[in-house]
């Protein structure tokens, strides 16, 4: 049984996922974590009390090993590592909703302090692609930004939604690091510098990523899933009812291969094999785990796994020694194996008994047992249902039995389309029948496997046969084909030409849409059941495809899906979405307005603070001169001023939030323009859009979005 080699109680709370180990003097590793009240603490047990206080740094009152760093803002992410080329030790990087601070703890000085309008939800430090110096890359609202040691912004790109996790790893195996980005739209995206090379869709917000080895990486989702990917293929995953707070790769059993260490919200720590996900070690904290890191904390040349809880408890584990033979848990493997085999034998015996009893036949018609004709087979069908007065538009899954048996209940397990992971239909006793219709409304256009379990039996049975069927819901299932071609086409339009036979496109249409019958021609119109209006698809004989829809996201999804089906690597597109562009134009003007308001408010605040200083001096003067009336008057004024300031602060923060929302939608617009293209043209569009925004050239921006390039 493996036990921690050290345990510390730090008396400081630790914010989840904001823990790092840094050698700030180049030698001694220090545990660094964000705590309450906008502070960061640095635990340095190695050289006691030699550091001067002052500037940002102050000594903690009740623990001499801990120094506190005042950030004065809620910390949102934190890391430590080598940033500058000739600094002695590691640099500490602290991100907040508005700023990024690079700080030299050893010298107690700021390296740089940058405003980041998109916020910093996640941070990673290291080398990216061909960029020569290490970068501190932060992920904010739809944007990624990388700074070098001088605070120069060397890297900038946009991504689909708010970034929640980042990691650097050599994904493509070319010897250079790619950036993996996990975001709130459930995607893990891989950037080779600013070029998007891969995209994996999960079914919840990606909260953590960590590099295992080679091209293998671990991930954690907000719904309690953790797992391992190798490139774009998922190796394994498990789901727990608890949430994974932090994941880290560490070789705990000493076999030369790292394991995925997960810290859970219920205080559990487990180490899982990177190949199978099998638990090889576990331990428990009394409160939720805050972060899992590694470092040579005892300065004996061996790295330890360091786990921290939100209550400030720290435990260090050494990798297991050889004689434990990888058996880290207090268990007897032989006994366990025998037990497992016996259990399997028992299961087989039970199954055998089931068949034997079944073969014997039922002597008496026992209604409880749920006897059904042996040839019962369930029929399932998927169809699109337009909205009626009673029900919203939905996809209907109908399940029926061919005989007089009834369906007691239907359980559907599917990812990403229900609130939880399952949906249940349980008719009341009076309404039992052999047919169940399940309305499904997929919120996003994703292909979904529906794992259906139907309980089939008699009306009075207490035991039912369970039928397990898997059906796939095609990607674009919420679209109903319309024959009515007279309706005006939407103004939004994407056109491009491909070098493919129309049959292939028809095949794609048949596979990705829920059609009542197979279609023959690629010229079709659909009605969106989500109320997005009409969408029409037209392919001319020369391979020119026109997609008409006002929904730019849908257009992007269609282009991406079609291109991956036809294996098209590069595709440039003409895209015109007049109403969306108009909206974006308004947003851009609003951004300018909010910016100027922001500046004005900041100036006002500076004025006020000067005023306060004066007033305070006057009031104190009056007090010293025992002029109580003036003093009271001054303090009353001060009180009023304070109230004004608070009000102003509220305005400012509202303004800031509105600004953030606008910036996010601008970033999203660039992302959407990119999604309409594939391959190189896609990256060109993103880069050109970004240039246009940088140079504040709105017209060029729209030109890029429309034609794919700025020059025309």
């Amino acid at each position: 049984m493996m036990v921690p080699i050290f345990t510390l109680k730090l008396n400081h709370k630790i914010n989840p996922r904001m823990v790092a180990v840094g050698k700030f003097d180049g030698v001694h590793p220090c545990l660094t974590a964000a705590t309450q009240a906008g502070k960061v603490f640095i635990h340095n047990p190695h050289d006691r009390g030699q550091r001067p206080a002052g500037h940002r740094l102050s000594q903690s009152a009740h623990d001499s090993d801990v120094s506190l760093l005042n950030i004065n803002q809620a910390v949102t992410c934190l890391t430590a590592g080598t940033l500058g080329p000739n600094s002695t030790g590691d640099t500490l990087l602290v991100g907040s909703q508005t700023n990024l601070l690079a700080y030299d703890v050893h010298d107690n000085t700021d390296v740089f302090y940058r405003d980041v309008t998109d916020g910093a939800n996640a941070i990673v430090l290291g080398k990216l692609g061909d960029i020569s110096s290490p970068l501190a890359i932060i992920g904010g609202n739809c944007a990624l930004q990388g700074f070098d040691y001088e605070g120069n912004d060397h890297f900038w790109t946009v991504t689909g939604d708010n970034v929640r996790s980042l990691v650097l790893c050599d994904f493509t195996g070319d010897g250079k690091n790619e950036l993996l980005v996990g975001s709130e739209d459930f995607d893990i995206r891989v950037f080779k510098e600013d070029q998007l090379v891969s995209e994996m869709t999960e079914n919840e917000t990606v909260t953590s990523l960590c590099h295992m080895h080679g091209s293998r990486f671990g991930y954690a989702l907000a719904n309690g899933t953790v797992g391992v990917y190798d490139r774009t293929a998922r190796y394994w995953r498990i789901k727990s009812k608890n949430h994974a707070m932090s994941i880290h790769a560490f070789d705990l059993n000493g076999d030369g291969v790292v394991e995925l260490i997960t810290g859970w919200s219920n205080g559990k720590i487990d180490a899982r094999s990177d190949r199978t996900g099998e638990v090889i070690f576990k331990d428990n904290f009394s409160s939720s785990v805050a972060g899992v890191v590694e470092g040579d904390y005892r300065l004996d040349g061996q790295k330890q796994l360091i786990c921290t809880s939100i209550e400030g408890e720290v435990r260090g584990y050494l990798p297991a020694s050889k004689d434990l033979k990888g058996n880290l848990m207090d268990s007897n493997t032989e006994q366990d194996l025998i037990r497992e085999l016996s259990q399997r034998r028992q299961n087989l015996l039970l199954e055998l008994r089931n068949y034997e009893e079944n073969a014997k036949g039922v002597s008496q018609t026992n209604s409880r047992m749920g006897v059904i004709p042996a040839n019962t087979q369930l029929q399932t069908a998927l169809s699109v249902r337009a909205s009626t007065e009673a029900q919203k538009a939905h996809v209907e899954l109908s399940i029926s039995t061919p005989n007089e048996t009834i369906i007691r209940a239907v359980l559907i397990f599917a990812e990403g389309i229900f609130e939880g992971e399952s949906h249940v239909v349980h008719p009341s006793v009076q309404n039992l029948s052999g047919c169940v219709r399940v309305p499904i409304i997929p919120p996003k256009d994703i292909p979904v496997d529906l794992h259906i379990k139907a309980f089939v039996g008699g009306r009075t049975s207490t035991q039912f046969h369970v039928f397990e069927i898997t059906r796939q819901l095609p990607r674009f299932s919420m679209y109903e084909i319309t024959e009515d071609s007279s309706a005006a086409l939407p103004a939004g339009r994407v056109s491009f030409s491909i070098n493919e036979r129309p049959q292939r496109v028809v095949m794609w249409l048949n596979q990705n849409f829920l059609l009542p019958e197979v279609i023959e021609s690629p010229n079709v119109s659909f009605n969106s059941l989500r109320g997005g209006g009409c969408m029409s698809f037209h392919m001319a004989s020369n391979g020119q495809i026109t997609l008409s829809t006002d929904d730019i996201d849908l257009a992007g999804d269609l282009v991406q899906s079609l291109c991956s089906f036809l294996a098209i690597e590069d595709l440039s597109v003409e895209a015109d979405f007049p109403s969306y562009y108009e909206e974006l134009r308004t947003t851009l003007t609003e951004v300018d307005e909010f910016h100027s308001v922001h500046q004005k408010l900041t100036a006002d605040m500076a004025d006020h603070s000067n005023y306060i200083r004066n007033m305070l001096v006057q009031a104190e003067d009056a007090r010293l001169m025992a002029d109580m009336r003036t003093m009271k008057k001054r303090y009353r004024e001060l009180y009023d001023l304070n109230r004004d300031l608070i009000n102003e602060y509220k305005i400012r923060s509202n303004n800031h939030n509105a600004l953030l929302a606008r910036l996010k939608s601008v970033n999203q617009a660039i992302q959407r323009a990119g999604r309409l293209r594939v391959g190189k043209p896609k990256n060109q569009v993103i880069a050109a859009c970004r240039d246009a925004i940088k140079s504040n050239n709105v017209n060029a921006l729209f030109r890029v979005m429309r034609a794919g390039t700025a020059s025309s």
Binding site: A37, H62, Q346, N354, E356, N358, M369, P373, E419, V424
Partner: protein, 713 residues
């Protein structure tokens, strides 16, 4: 004194019932004992251990489910005859496996408890007790509630045998012949009885379904409780007890097996108080426990049998890791053989199963064949927990559970249980007709989960059924549904007596109904009432509300029923449900009530300390984070007033306490609102419009203003 025991698995049989494993007395010089175990397939297996391998002595053919096992023998000889009961039949076997007795008790119900003593046989089947001597009928007794277990005092000192019955209505009934001598009140429904001293004596150990253990001294006309062990850690209910001196201090220790898999050993300290010496948690219910020596001389051990039929020893033999290197290799060779044998057997089975599967598939082609899968056994328990006034549902299946669907047609809350690792998912439900589902939740279980524990919180007055559909990982896949009634007064629990001094509200019913009819209505309304109509002309039951502590007395007979409670809401619920039930049967009821206005303020005053405590707790918990931040900011907490400093010091306890009672405050608010509405309902006023102002008063709670509000006209 510390006790170290190591777990050794011996063998596995079929699903076992409570108290179906016994250790046969040791033979001659040999200290190791043989194990006799009976399972629900009707098989009795007797085996001994030889070099770490279970060697069967005999094994009977499958038959009807065996409910109990006991050992017996003529007085003065070793007790080595094996008696088992299945259905209404008792069979006896010698230690060699020869059947020497078949006795048909001719009871309409199956025997569920049995005791053998010399030539005397005692059997119980739900409410009935029968005593046979040399297979001749001696005594007979009809109990007021279900009999869970039986034991019998016998010693030279006593003129006759004294049977003791453990009955569901929280009493031990001590009999004399066919008559009840007296009954002994115990703190919970007793599930198991065991003699403290196997050689005689008058002390009886009992265990309850809510996890309490006690020792009572059975006297001639009264009993004395020696001690009781509370169930503070909320472990499972007791299924089996044995006494054995495992600690080797010359005093018999108490071995306990619980339905959540906990095995405990209690020793006695110098003041003869029981103290926990050892605890081990198995993954499934412990159905039988025995102390003895099975695996290896001279190491004593605690032998357990679990629900799925595992026979496991917790032995005093030191673990193998401490043995010398050479020995370890030899031992693993033995296990290696065992594993090989198992694997070979598995392969054979696999082939057979494949054949079975194929045949099964073939039948699906035929249009006349039917598919009927035998019913698998589920061990379930749905009980009210006294301390947090919520129901706990435990489900246990022989093989791993794949998923569980919970459905309810009444509004209930499903609470998270820490032990439970299954992934729960709530499905949207249409509470209106036609389907009327208020709860639809699925539990997807992790591999190897054979036991699930859930917690459910009900609301009094809302009644219906909770259904659990259990699907095990077994081919062909089937699922079984279990139903649990949520009764209108679901939070009430039977009690032995009530406080007569409280102001009481009365509800009286008069009408043309039989005793059986009104009894069935009471059974419908209240938990823990025996389904069988009690003997006699009339009956009285006492209850208390586990959440509020209010009480209820129900007295009824043919044509008349009287209910008394200090809680006006209880009376209101009873009135509504009883009149509805009577209407269903088209019986005209004459309902009269007598409301004591003082009872409302009395109830409010009973709620007051709970409410005040909860409010204070909520307030303190709210402050903790802010105070901690101040502490970090200032470096210490010395500047705070003592009240706040104490909040900081106790923060961990406060948080834990707060977490333990989720939504406690909301529940109290709900009950006060009900009380308010019900009070005026009896006066014929509808005050639903005033509820919002009541909630305002509760938000800034003060007992006097609340009392004033209730007393407003």
């Amino acid at each position: 004194m510390e006790l170290h025991l190591h777990r050794v698995d011996y063998t596995q049989v079929g699903v076992t019932s409570q108290k179906t494993m016994r250790l046969l007395p040791a033979l001659g010089k040999k200290a190791t004992q043989k194990v006799a175990i009976a399972d629900q397939d009707g098989v009795i297996t007797c085996f001994g251990m030889k070099k770490g391998e279970a060697v069967p002595v005999f094994k009977t053919l499958p038959g009807p489910k065996i409910a109990r096992m006991d050992l017996g023998g003529a007085a003065g000889t070793p007790q080595e005859k094996i008696f088992v009961c299945s259905g209404s039949q008792v069979r006896g076997f010698t230690k060699k496996g020869k059947q020497f007795l078949t006795f048909e008790a001719n009871l309409t119900e199956s025997i569920n408890a049995m005791h053998v003593s010399g030539a005397d046989l005692f059997v119980c089947a739900s409410y009935i007790y029968n005593h046979y001597c040399d297979c001749k009928d001696q005594d007979y007794f009809l109990s007021g509630d279900k009999i869970n277990d039986i034991t019998c005092l016998s010693s030279e000192k006593l003129p006759h045998l004294v049977p003791v019955l453990a009955c569901q209505d929280r009493v031990l009934r001590v009999l004399q012949g066919s008559e009840l001598a007296y009954d002994v009140e115990v703190p919970g429904p007793p599930s198991v009885l065991e003699l403290y001293n196997k050689d005689g004596g008058q002390e009886v150990l009992y265990g309850t379904t809510d996890g309490k253990i006690g020792l009572v001294q059975i006297g001639d006309c009264a009993a004395v409780t020696r001690w009781e062990i509370e169930n503070e850690k909320k472990k499972g209910g007791i299924l089996c007890i044995d006494t054995y001196d495992i600690t080797g201090d010359g005093v018999n220790d108490i071995l306990v097996g619980r339905d959540d898999g906990t095995v405990e050993v209690y020793g006695f300290d110098s003041s003869s108080e029981p103290a926990l010496r050892f605890e081990h948690v198995l993954t499934e219910s412990v159905t039988s426990i025995q102390g003895g020596c099975v695996g290896k001389e001279p190491y004593e051990e605690v032998l357990t049998a679990t629900y799925t039929g595992w026979v496991t020893g917790l032995t005093t033999e030191p673990e193998r890791a401490e043995a010398v290197q050479g020995e370890e290799v030899r031992m693993s060779k033995e296990t290696q053989c065992k594993i090989e044998a198992l694997r070979a057997e598995l392969e054979q089975l696999q082939v057979k199963v494949l054949q079975g599967r194929e045949q099964y598939q073939q039948t699906s082609q035929s249009s006349t064949a039917v598919s009927a899968v035998p019913i698998f056994s589920i061990n379930d328990k749905f009980t009210l927990c006294q301390d947090d006034a919520s129901y706990s549902l435990t489900l246990e299946v022989q093989t791993a559970i794949d998923n569980l669907l919970l459905q309810s047609d009444v509004p209930i809350d499903l609470l998270d249980v820490d032990k439970n690792s299954a992934v729960v998912s709530f499905s949207e439900c249409d509470s209106e007709q036609p389907n009327g589902n208020f709860l639809l939740a699925t539990y997807r279980c992790q591999a190897n989960t054979t036991r699930l524990e859930l917690k459910v919180r009900s609301i009094e007055g809302q009644y219906g059924t909770l259904q659990a559909y259990v699907t095990p990982r077994l081919q062909p896949k089937t699922c079984q549904v279990r139903q649990y009634q949520i009764k209108p007064l679901s939070l009430h629990q039977r009690t032995h007596s009530i406080d007569p001094d409280r102001p009481m509200n009365r509800l009286s019913l008069v009408g043309q109904f039989s005793f059986a009819e009104i009894h069935s209505w009471v059974v419908f309304c209240l938990p823990e009432v025996p389904e069988k109509t009690p003997a006699g002309e009339s009956v009285t039951f006492y209850f208390h509300n586990t959440f509020l502590g209010t009480q209820l007395e129900a007295t009824y007979c043919k044509g008349e029923g009287h209910f008394k409670s200090d809680n006006i809401s209880t009376i209101s619920i009873l009135r509504d449900v009883l009149s509805k039930e009577a209407t269903k049967k088209k019986i005209n009821l004459n309902i009269s009530y007598d409301i004591d206005d003082d009872s409302v303020s009395h109830t409010l005053q009973m709620i007051h300390p709970k409410l005040e405590y909860q409010l204070l707790l909520a307030k303190k918990v709210q402050l903790i984070d802010a105070l901690k931040e101040l502490q970090v900011h200032e470096g210490n907490a010395d500047f705070l007033i003592p009240e706040y400093r104490s909040v900081l010091d106790e923060s961990a306890n406060l948080l834990e306490e707060y977490k333990k009672q989720p939504a406690h405050l909301e529940r109290l608010y709900g009950m006060i609102t009900d009380l308010f509405i019900d009070k005026f309902k009896f006066k014929g006023q509808n005050v639903k419009t005033k509820v919002s102002s009541l909630l305002d008063i509760l938000d800034s709670y003060d007992l006097n203003s609340l009392l004033d509000f209730f007393n407003e006209p």
